[in-house]
């Protein structure tokens, strides 16, 4: 038997014949970090092990205990865990009755480690591929459904609320005008500046009008508007639908038999597909206006000359090219947004993830699609 006293913060242990009595003293308040220090249980276990086999029971004496809370419970549970399967028994009769009631609630400590199944290499490579294939099919289904249901919508055979379509159109159209204006005016102005630096070297200042006009109509207006709308409207669609998913609103629609596609997605796809070409035309006009302002006010080009040059350089076919692109972009953004929303999980974090996915896929998709258009136009000599 060791002579040195076994003691720690808030407790002392005393050996009495075949039992170890732990005296709990003072306050044991968990949030104030009073009561047994970390490692106290290990020391008690150590002492009993080193003692050989004489100690049979471990008991508590709480006569000097003042205020207590969970700190005592954690201590006792740790002792229980430590002496599980050892030769000693834990006699909890000395604990305050209230603490014993709480301990009775906890039951046997159970290991809560989750079961992890390690996947082999084939599974680890294969699973993402299968997922990619599945999501590819998913997109195809969505595009196909859009085509089919749009056809049905044209024949008036779709259960969609007119009010929803109008509010989507308002939001994707008039609601987007301020930001589309700002972005396109600035892009037009920037193009004029960039062009001026180079063209002035050759005395070809007047071709700034060609540069701004063709660039805006053919590329920039459609592209910039699509990027803005992807962040603004595509993200909003995803967040809205994902939140509905979390609130079981979509389940409720399905349960009463409302076709989710017609009711939720079609109005959004139609609205954005219809509004994008209009926004494109508007964006081109304000973009050219931005270039015009810079050219006239800072680069000494006469207004008449700029307008005349623009009129001569921007052909109808270029406007048509931009229009077709913007329609495609609108459909893409709306489908990407709705898909991200429908595939979202049900938690708050999933809503954020859905919005991010919608915006990233929207922007990357728009730029990739624009590149495809450029290659096609080049091949067709358009």
């Amino acid at each position: 038997m060791t002579a040195e006293p076994l003691t720690g913060r808030g407790w002392t242990a005393r050996i009495d014949a075949v039992s170890l009595i732990i005296h709990l003293t003072g306050d044991w308040i968990a949030r104030l970090d009073t009561g047994a220090e970390l490692g106290a249980v290990d020391r008690i276990v150590e002492a009993i092990r080193s003692d050989g086999a004489t100690i049979k029971t471990i008991a508590f004496d709480t006569t000097a205990l003042k205020q207590w809370d969970s700190a005592i419970l954690v201590f006792v549970l740790a002792l229980r865990q430590a002496f599980k399967g050892e030769g000693q028994t834990l006699d909890e009769a000395g604990l305050p009755p209230a603490a014993r009631r709480l301990l009775a609630l906890t039951g046997e400590p159970v290991s809560a480690d989750p079961i992890v199944v390690r996947a082999n290499l084939l599974a680890r490579v294969g699973r993402p591929l299968i997922r990619l294939w599945a999501s590819g099919l998913d997109v195809m289904t969505l595009v196909g459904e859009t085509v089919l249901r749009s056809g049905a919508a044209l024949r008036g055979k779709v259960r969609m609320r007119g009010a929803d379509l109008l509010s989507c159109m308002y939001d994707a159209g008039i609601g987007a005008l301020p930001i589309v204006t700002i972005v396109n005016v600035l892009v037009g102005g920037i193009l004029a500046f960039v062009g001026a630096v180079q063209l002035r070297k050759f005395g070809a200042d007047i071709y700034i009008a060609n540069l701004v006009g063709i660039a805006m109509v053919r590329e920039m207006a459609a592209l910039m508007t699509a990027i803005v709308m992807s962040g603004r409207t595509g993200g909003a669609y995803a967040a809205h639908i994902a939140t509905m998913q979390g609130n079981e609103e979509i389940d409720a629609l399905r349960a009463i038999g409302v076709p989710v596609y017609d009711y939720l997605i079609l109005p959004r796809v139609i609205a954005l597909t219809c509004m994008m070409p209009l926004l494109f035309l508007y964006g081109s006009a304000v973009g050219i206006f931005g270039g015009f302002t810079v050219a006239v006010s800072m680069l000494n080009i006469s207004p008449e000359a700029f307008l005349e040059q623009t009129r001569a350089s921007v052909a109808g076919s270029q406007i048509l090219f931009g229009l077709v692109k913007s329609i495609a972009f609108g459909t893409l953004i709306a489908i990407a947004g709705c898909r991200a929303g429908l595939n979202a999980g049900r938690s708050a974090a999933d809503v954020g993830r859905a919005a991010t996915t919608a915006v990233v896929i929207g922007i990357v998709g728009v730029i990739a699609l624009d590149a495809i258009f450029a290659v096609c136009a080049n091949t067709l000599d358009f």
Binding site: A30, D33, L38, D69, L77
Partner: protein, 268 residues
């Protein structure tokens, strides 16, 4: 645990509260004594949850005082209020579990924020609280994978994480089956007895009210104030107010009694 803790924990006097200009309840007064289970009762939409919001410091009442212990809660500085608020445990109606954290992380967060305990102690305390509510196997589970009843239990475990003086529960047994609701009632009782907490619960579940509450207040939507005080059992047996009587005995109010029509098909 305080030994002398049966003295009043909460003293509410002349409380008037609402949203903006809209008054939900006016002139509500009551006292919650220590270690009791106090019920805030009343029909749907009478302002029970709003009263709880005022009690836990989420909504400033437009008139009246709330004393927590000896301190006038809403007259205190914001820091002082936060300090008092840390001694409250609050369980929201839906559980309000933070969805981006596991059950254990939910319970551990208050400990990480407001104590200087080391990681091992925090984890041990969080595990303890989860095992107290019977969820020792669900520590590393994300909330999305938990059932409604389990979420509520995680909510209770989180409310207990700092060993609160007063535990506020908003509709604890709403949406639970009778057996789970009964178990939850037992759990609330055990926790109250074990930790010596004071419990304030908003409820209109009659069985819960009858079986565990020691005292209470009945809010009325029509008159916009408290119309009865007392333990639910006492109110059921002896309160003469028609609304309270109808509520406690689960009947239609007297002015809505359906007269049995002759030749009806047993309806009403």
């Amino acid at each position: 645990m305080d030994i002398d803790s049966t003295e009043p924990k909460l003293r509410v006097e002349g409380l008037t509260f609402g949203y903006g200009a809209k008054v939900v309840q006016h002139d509500v007064s009551f006292t919650v004594s220590g270690q009791s289970i106090f019920a805030i009762m009343g029909g749907s939409g009478c302002g029970k949850s709003t009263l709880m919001k005022a009690l836990i410091g989420l909504l400033r009442p437009s008139a009246g005082t709330i004393h927590v212990g000896d301190i006038d809660y809403w007259a205190a500085t914001e820091e002082r209020r936060t300090e008092i608020g840390r001694r409250f445990g609050v369980v929201f109606q839906s559980g309000a579990i933070w969805s981006s954290m596991t059950a254990e992380e939910n319970v551990a967060l208050p400990l990480r924020m407001f104590t200087s305990l080391d990681d091992a102690s925090i984890r041990a305390l969080a595990q303890l609280k989860l095992s107290l509510v019977g969820l020792d196997t669900a520590t590393s589970v994300m909330p999305a994978a938990l059932s409604g009843g389990m979420r509520k239990r995680v909510g209770i475990a989180r409310a207990l994480s700092l060993d609160p003086d007063i535990l506020f529960l908003d509709e604890p047994s709403a949406g639970l089956d009778p057996i789970s609701a009964r178990r939850l009632d037992d759990l609330i009782l055990e926790l109250r007895d074990g930790f010596g907490m004071t419990v304030v619960m908003v409820s209109h579940e009659l069985p819960s009210l009858m079986s565990i509450c020691d005292d209470g207040i009945f809010l009325d939507a029509d008159s916009g104030t408290a119309i009865a005080h007392g333990a639910p059992k006492v109110l059921r047996d002896s309160c003469k107010h028609p609304t309270v009587h109808a509520f406690m005995t689960r009947q239609r109010p007297p002015d809505e009694q359906v007269q049995p029509a002759e030749g009806s098909h047993g309806a009403g």
